[in-house]
């Protein structure tokens, strides 16, 4: 396979040769991933960290930034390996195992590199990195990109937007939880049940975005 062929593959969607860059479609992907089909509130991806790291606003912001960062890198890696290696070798069925390996080692490498070379960035982002391995939003976006047959460009856009959507939900959640910490919540609902109830309310509100960009 020569270089130009690889380039054309990267830039175009895998199954059709002539899909160019389309601003409208990109907007649709972005709006869908952030609002309409928000990863957390409508697709149920990344619930564990969403519930776990939303107690403090500062952690939520850090986690969100880390997720966006890793999501982008993981998508880049997984998309390339899938379309440049697995598909030509007819090994599509290995995608799950390959993706998770890529994500796990990527996260660990990034964490170690940050810790070594940029302690300040590590303190801001790095401490959230381990949690990301088991964040199904990362693997989810990688798999979804393949399922939707997005080109690399769209895949990256989708990944970043999904990360932003995750972050948005996380930050809103953190704000609400901090407010409710001072509220007179019935004892039975304190803690995790409350977190899920807030998520439910947020999810209802996000239904308002339905149909947007469609």
């Amino acid at each position: 396979m020569n270089a130009s062929a690889i380039m054309s593959m990267l830039l175009a969607a895998p199954s059709s040769g002539n899909q160019g860059f389309d601003l409208g479609r990109m907007m649709a992907i972005i709006i869908a991933a952030i609002f309409v089909n928000n990863f957390v509130l409508s697709r149920f991806l990344g619930i564990c960290p969403f519930i776990g790291v939303s107690k403090q606003l500062d952690s939520a912001i850090g986690m969100g930034a880390a997720v966006i960062f890793v999501m982008t890198l993981a998508t880049l890696g997984s998309w390339s390996v899938y379309n440049l290696l697995l598909v030509p070798m007819n090994l599509g069925y290995l995608k799950t195992i390959v993706f998770i390996l890529i994500i796990a080692s990527l996260v660990q490498l990034v964490e170690m590199i940050l810790q070594k070379f940029s302690p300040s960035l590590y303190r801001a982002l790095g401490i959230f990195l381990p949690l990301i391995t088991t964040n199904c939003a990362i693997l989810g976006v990688a798999v979804l990109n393949i399922d939707e047959k997005y080109s690399l460009g769209y895949s990256l856009v989708n990944a970043i937007a999904a990360g932003i959507g995750f972050t948005l939900a996380l930050i809103l959640m953190a704000g609400l939880r901090q407010r409710l910490e001072l509220a007179d919540v019935p004892p039975a609902l304190r803690g995790k049940p409350m977190a899920f109830l807030i998520a439910g309310v947020m999810s209802i509100a996000f239904l308002g975005f339905a149909g947007l960009g469609g």
Binding site: L180, D184, F209, A210
Partner: protein, 375 residues
């Protein structure tokens, strides 16, 4: 020496005569004129829906408090009544009787009491109840419209009675009469026609596209007529129970302002934003929308004066309130123009309710004497 003994408390020892209860009942009173309009246009059915909704809300509040072993007197502080009325005001007049009951019960139980009751709820319970109904019974909630005064003259003729004056339209070339239960539905249709026109253009059917575009702009033209405005003001239009008469809603709002209950920044920033963005992108293209229509149609007036200004779920600081109003206004217009629903008022407020804690956290007034560099 024995001296007379007195009770003790922290200063101040005097206070205003306002109380939560009084505020709530003021809001109830302010909402009543609109109920009269609703009953006039939609018949006693509307009254029944409001009554059921209020009853269910108060009952649900009472039962929740009882279940949680909290003082049940809170159930009668009027806040449940406000929630009940607002919920009923946000459903179409033709819904079955059990719908508002279910909605109110959900609004109170899940939207309010689960969070700890009055003052602790994160979103407006009535709006949450409405969103719950929208998600659960989308067909009933989007098809339960009745035309104004239909109950009296017995004919369902939305062509004349949804508030849009047809004569104007019929004079337009290529413009058929339009149907649609509410003015905003009609507007949404015009956007749909625009979309179809784009499609036709893409396919190369330029003649068809022109025709569609003409019809779309014809509809929008009809919506911007004085007579349409008048109908919207009076309340002769299709829509939710509470959003009929703009005039009577304004009267209620005026009452609240006089009573010092209404925080004026929220409605003003909200309605102002709606108007501005209605002009910016409320029409087919840019900067040609009709702000007057957008403000009068749908639930913006009801929302602006009675739901955006809900104290519990909006920021406490003046600056925060202005930001809240702007955000809600922008979201309303985005949903109206590009979203899946013809009306975005209630969802926009719900969404901004979620942002309220963040606004409260980051937007605080400058403390007296605080040096600027700390900001």
């Amino acid at each position: 020496m024995e001296h007379k003994r007195f009770e003790l408390a922290m200063s101040p020892h005097v206070g205003t005569h306002q109380s939560t209860r009084k505020i709530m009942f003021d809001v109830v009173i302010a909402l009543l004129p609109a109920l009269a309009a609703a009953t006039w246009f939609f018949g006693p059915g509307a009254l029944l829906i409001v009554a059921l909704s209020v009853g269910a809300a108060v009952l649900a509040e009472y039962l929740c408090l009882k279940f949680m072993k909290r003082p049940v007197s809170f159930a009668f502080d009027g806040s449940a009544i406000v929630t009940g009325i607002l919920l009923a005001y946000n459903v179409p007049p033709g819904v079955p009787w059990w719908l508002p009951i279910l909605g109110s019960a959900f609004a109170i139980a899940v939207g309010k009491q689960a969070f700890g009751g009055l003052g602790h709820n994160i979103v407006n319970p009535a709006l949450l109840g409405r969103a719950f109904l929208m998600a659960s019974f989308p067909i009933l909630m989007t098809a339960g419209w009745t035309a104004p005064e239909e109950w009296r003259n017995g004919q369902n003729n939305p062509w004349e009675t949804n508030g849009i004056v047809q004569e104007e339209l019929l004079e337009m070339p290529n413009a058929d009469a339009i149907s649609g239960a509410t003015p905003l539905n009609v507007l949404k249709q015009s956007f749909d026609l625009d979309k179809s026109a784009d499609l036709a253009n893409k396919e190369g059917n330029h003649a068809e596209a022109l025709d569609l575009e003409a019809r779309a702009s014809g509809i929008r033209h009809a919506l911007s007529q004085k007579s349409t405005y008048l109908n919207l003001l009076v309340g002769r239009r299709g829509g939710c129970i509470g959003e009929t008469s703009v005039l009577l809603l304004l009267a209620g709002a005026l009452f609240l302002i006089i009573r010092g209950v209404l925080e004026i920044r929220l409605p003003i920033s909200y309605l102002g934003t709606v108007a501005i963005f209605a002009w910016v992108f409320g029409g087919s293209g840019w900067f040609n929308g009709d702000p007057i229509f957008h403000v009068l149609a749908g639930g913006v007036i009801l929302g602006g004066f009675f739901m955006v200004s809900d104290m519990v779920t909006t920021p406490v600081t003046p600056k925060g309130r202005i930001i809240f109003g702007i955000g809600a206004g922008l979201l309303t217009m985005i949903i109206r123009r590009w979203g899946g629903y013809p009306e975005g008022c209630s969802y926009s407020i719900l969404l901004m309710n979620l942002v309220t804690p963040l606004i409260d956290r980051f937007i605080r007034p400058k403390v007296f004497g605080e040096v600027k560099e700390n900001d």
